[in-house]
Amino acid sequence: MESKKYRNFLEAESRRAPIEKRRSNSEERFWILWKEKVDRATIERGTSDIIDSLYFGEDLSRTVVIDRKVARIIQERLKGLEEENIRLHKRVRIMKIIIYGLMLVASVAVIALLLGS
């Protein structure tokens, strides 16, 4: 005689993960089938060594798994780096213009000095 609570547990689990029994075309055999439910519980998987690799330069293993939080960190970091890159690029251009300007002023001054003497 099986316990009522045990039967209730099996019933509850069957409702959460149901199976379907369908008769095949031959009418003699059955198919047992099920679909993945959308609300299936997911296992929290931790992030593998990606962070250590990014920040401490450690080697990566063959497969790298990252969770959403870490993906977001990496996205933010890439975005920041791109913005920084554009800012530095602009600064380099300005510096180049200043240097060319200074070189022009200096060469004009040298020529003026030479002509004056």
Partner: protein
């Protein structure tokens, strides 16, 4: 409100006890069922005795007795002594029961140093709720019992596993980090170096008993009951019945089909008391927080299993068990993905060859499921629905003793 009192008790203890918050929460939760017993394990000087006293004081005020395993405790101090004048004058053996027996709050300091004779008396008290001395018995009512020990203490007695099994939970405390040491010094200054003395009695023992009655009346969902039993069974089961074998894993597992399963990592399995303790805790969580889910159950199992089992290889008992619990969580999810319980549910209603084939595939990878399927197979063989030799137990060579005996009937 009684719930608020429990929350206050937790708060008052946490206010006086640095870090180990999860351990404190478990300690308080474990008091919410009758005759609660808690074991605190930690290295020396971490605060085992302080935590024990904070709890005893918070619930029983001054109605608690602490015996110390470090001193030479005699039976008279723990159980009872003979009243000499009655014996001399009247020739009657009257026993004066010890304060430890009569008090609501019982504490045992340095349990590991307790001599085997006293241990046996306390074991009997926890098992039967009574004590014996000079042929007389005293019933012990409801109580809270908290014990502590330092397992690496060189002067330890080795107490038998069934004795430790009587403790509902075993909480581990860790040493303080740098910043936590500063926090402790601040606390000591705040409470004038008397943390225990400053602890108020937050609730009366009668109120605790009222709470215990309410908690006992909590109904758990079939899913939670199922997961408690499943979790415990996964930490027990062995297709080669290790509990009846003199050879234990890993030697016993040589050539076993399930060698890579959790069962192969466990030398001595947990007892049925683990399921009882988990049920009490689950009810307590549901009473206190209004709900308890499977994640809570797994978190609590970490404190219910360590003193009840031994592993084939132990580096750090807590992290080793944590690792096994994580594997167990994945295994439970796999079972659902493979619809194992749905298949079993269908088979319980009646034999179906298509479903049976799928169930056999699942059984080949899951001992606990295999056990249930084997039970059904025996029934079908008896009913003539299945031939001997077609069953998975014969084909895989899983000849369980209990099923063989049943077959002979």
């Amino acid at each position: 409100m009684l719930r608020n009192k429990i929350i206050d008790l937790e708060k008052e203890i946490i206010e006086r006890f640095v870090t180990n918050e999860e351990a404190v929460k478990m300690l308080v939760l474990n008091q919410l069922h009758p005759r609660s017993t808690t074991l605190i394990r930690a290295p020396r000087g971490v605060g085992k005795s302080t935590l024990m006293l904070l709890l005893l004081k918070g619930i029983t005020g001054d109605d608690f007795v602490v015996i110390s395993g470090a001193s030479e405790v005699k039976r008279g101090e723990v159980v009872g002594r003979l009243h000499i004048p009655s014996l001399e004058k009247e020739g009657v053996e009257r026993v004066l029961w010890a304060a430890f027996v009569k008090s609501k709050g019982k504490g045992i300091d340095e349990l590991n140093r307790l001599n085997p004779y006293t241990t046996a008396n306390i074991h009997h008290l926890m098992q039967f709720g009574e004590v014996w001395a000079y042929g007389q018995r005293a019933r012990v009512g409801d109580y809270i019992l908290v014990a502590n020990e330092n397992p690496s203490d060189a002067t330890s007695f080795v107490h038998p596993p069934p004795f430790y099994d009587r403790f509902d939970i075993c909480i581990f405390l860790r040493t303080l980090t740098l910043s936590e040491k500063f926090r402790l010094q601040e606390l000591l200054d705040k409470y004038d170096w008397d943390l225990v003395g400053s602890m108020p009695q937050v609730l009366s023992f009668e109120e605790l008993q009222e709470i215990r009655e309410e908690v006992a009346g909590i109904e758990l969902e079939p899913e939670l009951i199922g997961y408690i039993n499943l979790l415990v069974r996964d930490f027990q089961s062995c297709i080669r019945e290790k509990e009846n074998s003199e050879i234990k894993p890993p030697a016993l597992c040589e050539g076993c089909h399930f060698i890579r399963d959790i069962c192969g990592m466990i030398k001595e399995p947990v007892s049925e008391r683990a399921a009882v303790a988990l049920t009490h805790l689950t009810k307590a969580v549901k009473w206190l927080q209004g709900k308890c889910d499977v994640d809570d159950l797994f978190r609590m199992a970490l404190w219910v299993f360590p003193h009840r089992l031994s592993l084939t290889r132990t580096r750090n008992i807590l992290s080793d068990i944590q690792e096994l619990l994580e594997r167990e969580r994945v295994k439970m999810e796999d079972r659902r993905v493979r619809r194992q319980w749905s298949l079993l549910n269908e088979l319980m209603k009646g034999f179906d060859p298509s479903i049976y084939r799928l169930a056999r595939d699942a059984a080949a990878e899951d001992v606990v499921f295999a056990e249930e399927l084997m039970k059904l197979e025996e029934k079908w063989i008896a009913e003539g629905l299945l031939q001997r030799g077609e069953d998975i137990s014969t084909q895989m060579g899983w000849r369980s003793h209990r099923y063989n005996r049943w077959r002979m009937k």
